[in-house]
Structures are given as C-alpha cells and as structure tokens.
C-alpha cells in the first residue's frame, strides 16, 4: 500500500544529523532543541511529543518524536555510540 492510500506521508530515513540538546530535569530529561540536516537545513524544534527508549539488545536508543510546527520528525539518539539520526519525517497532512 502506498503512502497516498495510507493517507500518511511518513518518509523513513536514516540520516546522521547534528543536534543541539539540553540535558536538564523534566519530562524528557534530554531536550533536542535544534538540528541540522546533511543538506545544511536547520530545524528548530517547537515541541517534543514523546521520548521513549528502545533496547536493541543491551544497547539503549532513545527515540524522540518532535515537531517544528510544519512537520513531525523522529530523532534517534544512540546512548552507546552517542550519535543522532533522523529516521522519519512527515509533513502536515
């Protein structure tokens, strides 16, 4: 089924990104506030929807579902390798 039939414009990616994040007590403890894509485009995060951990084995990867108000994004922070990746982008429907 295509995205169009699914009425869902998610694009799945695997793009290494540069992230500015604040680590402080709060709902998510770690707050990505801004990230730069490989194209050079910078995105300012306006809301973190949810942060949840996943464990591929004993490794810990934190998933951040965020938005800049125009599109939703998923950022993945690998706590072992200390890398950030952009894995999903979905424009406003």
């Amino acid at each position: 089924m295509t995205n169009e039939q699914f009425a869902n414009n998610e694009q799945f990616l695997n793009e290494q990104i540069e992230v500015v994040a604040i680590f402080r007590p709060g709902r998510t403890m770690c707050e990505p506030v801004r990230f730069r894509r490989t194209s050079g485009r910078e995105i300012t995060i306006t809301e973190i929807g949810l942060r949840h951990p996943t464990s591929p084995g004993n490794r810990m990867v934190h998933m951040f579902d965020v938005t800049d108000g125009g599109a939703d994004y998923r950022l993945e922070f690998d706590a072992e390798r200390l890398t950030w990746r952009l894995t999903m982008e979905a424009d406003r429907i």
Binding site: F6, A7, H52, G57, D72
Partner: protein, 418 residues
Amino acid sequence: MNQGYNLADPRVMHIDLNSCFATVEQQARPLLRGKPVAIVNRRTDHTMIITCSYEAKAMGVKLGMRLKDAKKLCPELIGLESDPPKYKYVYHQLMRIMQDYSAHVRMKSIDEGVIDFSESTQLLQSRSMADIGHEIKQRLWDEIGVAMNCNVGIATNRFLAKTAAGLHKPNGLDVITHENLREIYDGLDLEDLTGIASHNRARLESVGILTPLDFLDADEATLRKVVFKSVNGTYWHQRLRGWEVDKRDFPIKSAGRQFVLDGYKMPRAEVLKRLHHLCEETGAKVRSQGLVARGVSVHARSYSDEGRGWGGKYWHARSMSPTPFFSNQTIYEIAKKLFDDAPVFVKEIGVSCYELSEPDDSQLSLFGDQLAQERAVTGIIDTVNTRYGKRVIHSADTLSTNTGMKEKIPFGSTRYMD
C-alpha cells in the same frame, strides 16, 4: 454469602487509557492531534484497524474494520502502523505512576490497570479517591504528555470500577457506590457489563432478564441454577452488588502467538517457515518465564468461500508429550507434525505451548546428556539474543521471515512484556 449491597467506601480504582495506541501516536506527533487516526498492524489493503482516535470514532470508524472500508466512511482517515515500543513505554509509565500510590496494582492489559486502596496506608485512605483520580490524570499530562487522557472509575470492587471507567469516555471520572448503583444500571444495556456478550445475554434473556436492573434484582438461586448453571451465578450475584469476587491471579496456562499470513494462498513451504518463526517466539516466551511445556497446540484458519473474506474454517490440533520440553526445535518438530493435517490454503496460523510448569530436575532422565546439551545450547542462544537484540540468532529456515513478522502488541495479558 452477602445478599445486600456492599456499603463500604469505594477503594478500588480502575484506570483506562483512552483509545490508547491512537492517543499515544497523537501525543508523539503533535500534527496528528484533532485528526482521525487509525492504527493498523501492517500496510496492506485488507489490514484491520486495531484502534482509532475519538475523531475517527465520531466519523463511524470502528475497531476491526478494514482500513480500506473505513476510508470510505472517513476519507481523511490517517492510517499508521503500530509502534509497540512506544506503547510499552507508556504502559510502563502508567504502571510507575499507579505504583506510587499502592503496592496493590494489577495491570489488566497494555492500557488499563487497577489500584486496590483497601490495604493502603491511613494517610492515603484519608484522601478522597476522586482527588487521587484527578491527581493521576494530571500526572499523566505532566509526565507523559498533554494528549494523554484516561478514564478513572472508582467503586467497591473491580467489576464496578471498570464499569465506572466506561461511563464517560473520553477523560471521565466516575464513582459508583451503593447509593447510585441502581441509577447507573438503569442507564446501561446488558452488554455494557464486562463479561456479558451475546452468549450470556441470550442466557439471561431466556429467563426474562432483559436489563442490568433485572439482572441485579434476580435472586442468587436463579442465576446459579438456571442461568449460569454453576458457581458463576453466585459470583455474578455478588459482583453486581459491589462485592469483590475478581481479586484473583491466574497462573500462566499457555504462551503462544498467531499470525495472519502476508500472502494469498501461500505455498506450504512458506507457511512452515512462518510457523517455525512463531515456534521460536513461543519458545522464547516460555523460557523467559523460567518454564517448560508439555503440550503444543497449532491452529489455522482457511479461506472463506468468497476467498478474501474474514470468515473461513477454523482448524486446530494439539499434542501432549510425556516429558517436558523447552527448545524451539522441539516445539517446531511437534508443531510441524501436527500441521500435516492442516487445510491446504490457510490465511492465519498460530501456535501455543500449554501445560506450562517449573522445570523438575529431580527425576533422572534416560536422555540426561542430550537434555543437558539442549539446555546449554538454548541457554546460550537466549543469552546472545538478550544481549544483542531479539532474533540475532535464529534458525536459517526463518531468515526470510524477520521483516514481515515483527512483534506486535498483544491484547490481554501483559505478563510477557519486557
């Protein structure tokens, strides 16, 4: 046996997340809030909706509907594939919040749980239950997110607390006591009561019990001897009056998984690969609880006459072994043999292990060495899979099934959830 209503203060709280998976998705993706969203398990034409948002429900979309059909009712419906780790996280957060109030917390499924305050401290007992309910709602918003709503039901037993939680969806909070019990039942239908579906309804109607109030007024002997023909009649008589009869933990009796095949009229060799995959997951579930099994049961559903409908014949077979087993290979060998008699073309398959028990090493086995070897190999595979991720080591036979058969969220018991 208690004949009258339970006059005690309500101390059982049922918490139910509203349209859980859809709400979690709307929490995670702010741009989906206020939009009709349906969650499905896979991206296919005939995929069924496992849950949907209140906006979708308002347009007539229902659980179990095919996404394709639902989109005719609601063209702007957004289909999303389920994301189990996200839901597991919210489940654990909900459980953590609930456990802050009492040690007597029982999760009934991934989106609902019960707190029993009857054995809580004096300090908690002195607080209003409704206040605690509102506080839990506030904590869900603060600690998970602003889109997370829940229903809270408070009563003297689990049954009435669940009934109360269903009265004002979404985001309700209701208390049922002996004082408003009749009024609440008056506004309900028989099938609104948890545990009463079409079969039990027919039983009740056969003796003239047409409404929950008729049910409440029925005498115990009629329910026990005529309607349910068992002690269940007595339990219902007590349950309806607010007495606790459901505070029981049932031992794990079986473990398994089922799968709707990802191809039409799939060749048997491909079906067996998927059966093998299910056997590996079933074996891991059994061993994760430190148990061994003695029985394997397999089932399949064949196509209905129309070919693509959801009807079709149900087939199943089971086998008991004289000795307990635990390895994936043994489970698959038994399941495969049983599957010889399955219909040629099937659209759904399932496997489960039953007669689960703690391993008993006190009895010497004639095949002791072989058993020890099997246990060592299985143990190492489980250790590697725990360290590096599920299914890092699996049989070569299931190499091609890894992507299409990823784990989904089970309904019902959450005891296998890590």
